[in-house]
């Protein structure tokens, strides 16, 4: 399976996800939207698995490959949020955001070859990146809810419920970020000799982590402003974007050993 086949699988998956999102908006039963979304996930994961097989290495090395996982995990996070907290609109948003990343991958494909540099040949590679991509998707869902809140603040009647949902998502997300970060640290000790070197990627990972810690601690006070909390979520997500790919465009990036484009 080559990267060129992505467009067909992506089209199939997006159709199913779109149908799931539309059904969720229209009907009250959750079964059909869940079945549709899951079917889309299976189609999309089949592509990832086939790509993995043909590259003979985990497809997690290039930015495009991480976007691929992100596109996959977004509907997962959306589906969990929908099933657990019953937000009918979340599936439309996660599908849309997933589509954006798929389009980027189709319009601007990376070079995907079998090469896996020695530093990446480690059992930590797949769990470290996959758990990060999963947390990014969960926190992406939290961000979508924050935007929804900020745009419609005046019309909303269940603000407490919305904030409880973002709390839940952020706790799950930061738990995964912490796991990903510590796995990365233990791996770095094995590969580079030190668990923390303040490599630009690590610095931004720490900044992202502090960003979400700020949200969590700010929310502990009962008199905290809901709006400020939602704005904190946007700032933290911005830090996350810099950590994920923005860091490559910063002046500090010239020193990063965290770059793996061949």
């Amino acid at each position: 399976m080559t990267w060129n086949a992505l467009i067909y699988f992506a089209a199939g998956a997006l159709l199913l996800w779109g149908a799931g999102a539309a059904l969720a908006m229209k009907y009250n039963t959750k079964t059909l939207p869940a079945v549709m979304t899951t079917a889309g996930l299976i189609v999309f994961f089949f592509f990832i698995a086939a790509l993995w097989h043909s590259l003979e290495r985990p497809p997690l090395r290039t930015m495009g490959e991480t976007r691929l996982w992100y596109s996959f995990f977004l509907p997962v996070a959306g589906l969990l949020t929908y099933l657990r907290w019953n937000y009918r609109w979340i599936l439309s948003f996660t599908t849309l955001l997933s589509a954006v990343f798929i389009v980027v991958n189709i319009v601007q494909p990376d070079i995907h070859d079998k090469v896996l540099m020695p530093a990446l040949q480690s059992p930590w590679f797949a769990p470290h990146v996959i758990i990060y991509m999963f947390s990014y998707a969960i926190l992406g869902a939290a961000t979508l809810i924050a935007i929804y809140y900020l745009v419609r603040e005046k019309q909303l009647n269940n603000k407490t419920g919305i904030l409880q949902t973002t709390d839940n998502l952020v706790y799950a997300g930061i738990a995964c970020i912490t796991l990903g970060m510590l796995m990365g640290a233990i791996w770095a000790k094995e590969a580079w000799g030190h668990y923390w070197s303040w490599d630009p990627k690590e610095t931004w990972a720490a900044a992202t982590w502090i960003g979400y810690l700020l949200y969590i601690h700010y929310r502990l006070k009962k008199n905290s402003s809901d709006k400020t909390a939602m704005i904190l979520l946007l700032i933290a997500f911005l830090l996350l974007q810099i950590c994920w790919y923005g860091v490559n465009y910063l002046p500090s990036a010239q020193q990063s050993i965290h770059t793996y484009t061949s």
Partner: protein
């Protein structure tokens, strides 16, 4: 922010005082930085760091025991102090993430903006503001943990302790331990024994370990073929270069608009070339190159072009096959799949150990870890000189204790989620 008409510094304190304290500490750090310059970690090496750590923890304990109920301590162990401290720490981290960092002692520090240099922004992690705000955050963290111990314990507190105490241990251990960390590189040729680290000329550091490099092996990925532009040497298509990873003879592939057929392959070849003539023959010897014979056709080409392509070696030149005026087939340098050192390590204590060291496969001997750092690539895949990094970090166990508590804490957080609110 404080909502009441309460004056600043009047109890009970809120966010305003938190931000004033945080920025105040940061500014004090700046003044120290401007007057005293960067922190020299070596000055804090054992036993200074251990004493400092013990004093710090004792200080926190005494504050908690003697003044735990005082308003200021309660404030310091709460959200009103924590959040601003995190905001200041985050701001410095953002600067650290934006500005390139130059380790101390390196000559290539930027000369342009001397203001950044005086503020220590090019060596943020050893600058006074960064270290002071880290200790301030740690103090808040420590007091918060101590305050929680005085409350009625619930099962949920397991998560609190794992996360907060784990972070405290890892953070404090990491800062203090950085002064004791030793890192050296060592270059060893095949067959030789080395016990001195690579240092600037005239300065030799003898290590308590000696490494004998029995053999050094490089495994490369199969060769690749690409189409290049004759004039510039750039790979085509320029927007997203196409390449073909060799998979065996008699295969055909499409590359940048050309049809390339693999006719023959030599894993060990000698390449002879002068201005008029190129000859490629099999030759089993060190320094032999890999070569692929291809037949290329392209729309507009009257007949296919056939010939050898090779990326050469330190003995033989590389050869490209010219297709027409504009393009050629070329073989770029192969990418390295793996490099491994077979070593015998001797310690001062008299033990001898044979081992294999590779990337992601360090060797642990006494309290040292030996890493495969790099190699001398002037001979390409026939490299015979390996570079190791030797690292000693006596505080690693402390930091890892914190890490494992945090790992457990993260799992706890993932499963239990946030505290249910009553409202």
């Amino acid at each position: 922010m404080a909502h009441s008409s309460r004056k600043i510094w009047k109890q009970p304190w809120g966010y305003t005082e938190g931000y004033l304290a945080g920025t105040g500490i940061c500014l004090s750090g700046c003044i120290l930085q401007l007057s005293a310059g960067n922190i020299e970690p070596a000055l804090y090496a054992f036993p200074v760091n251990s004493i400092m750590g013990a004093l710090f923890v004792t200080g926190l304990l005494s504050v908690h025991l003697l003044a735990g109920m005082k308003r200021i301590v309660r404030w310091l162990s709460g959200v009103y102090a924590t959040t601003p401290a995190l905001v200041v720490l985050l701001s410095l981290s953002v600067i650290l993430g934006l500005i390139p960092q130059f380790p101390q002692g390196t000559a290539n520090e930027p000369r342009l903006s001397t203001f950044f240099t005086s503020l220590g922004w090019y060596q943020m992690t050893t600058s006074w503001p960064f270290v002071l705000i880290s200790f301030y955050t740690l103090a808040i963290l420590g007091l918060t943990i101590l305050r929680r111990t005085a409350q009625k314990q619930q099962w949920r507190d397991i998560g609190f302790y794992l996360n907060h105490f784990g972070l405290f241990i890892a953070f404090l251990g990491g800062i203090l331990g950085s002064a004791d960390m030793e890192r050296h590189t060592m270059t060893v040729r095949e067959g030789a024994v080395e016990w001195r680290s690579d240092h600037s000329p005239g300065e030799i550091k003898e290590l308590p370990l000696a490494i004998q490099l029995d053999s050094f092996l490089i495994e490369a990925y199969p060769p690749k073929l690409v189409i290049i532009q004759n004039e510039t040497g750039k790979m085509l298509p320029a927007s997203r270069p196409d390449s073909y990873l060799f998979e065996g003879v008699a295969k055909t592939t499409q590359l940048a608009g050309c049809t390339v057929e693999i006719i023959d392959y030599l894993a060990h070849a000698a390449v002879f070339r002068d201005s008029a003539f190129t000859n490629v023959v099999p030759m089993l010897m060190e320094g032999a190159a890999e070569a692929i014979k291809v037949k290329v056709s392209k729309p507009g080409l009257s007949q296919p072009v056939e010939g050898w392509v090779s990326n050469g070696s330190y003995l033989f030149p590389h050869i490209v096959l010219q297709i027409d005026e504009a393009n050629s087939v070329a073989m770029p340098q192969q990418e390295v799949r793996k490099y491994t050192s077979y070593v015998t390590v001797y310690t001062k204590g008299g033990t001898t150990r044979q081992a294999v060291i590779g990337v992601n496969k360090p060797l642990s001997v006494d309290d040292w870890m030996i890493y495969q750092y790099s190699y001398d690539d002037s001979k390409g895949k026939y490299a015979d000189t390996s570079v190791f990094e030797l690292v000693r970090d006596p505080w690693l166990k402390v930091v890892y204790t914190g890490f494992f508590m945090l790992l457990a804490g993260a799992l706890f957080l993932f499963i239990t989620g946030p505290k249910k609110r009553l409202s």
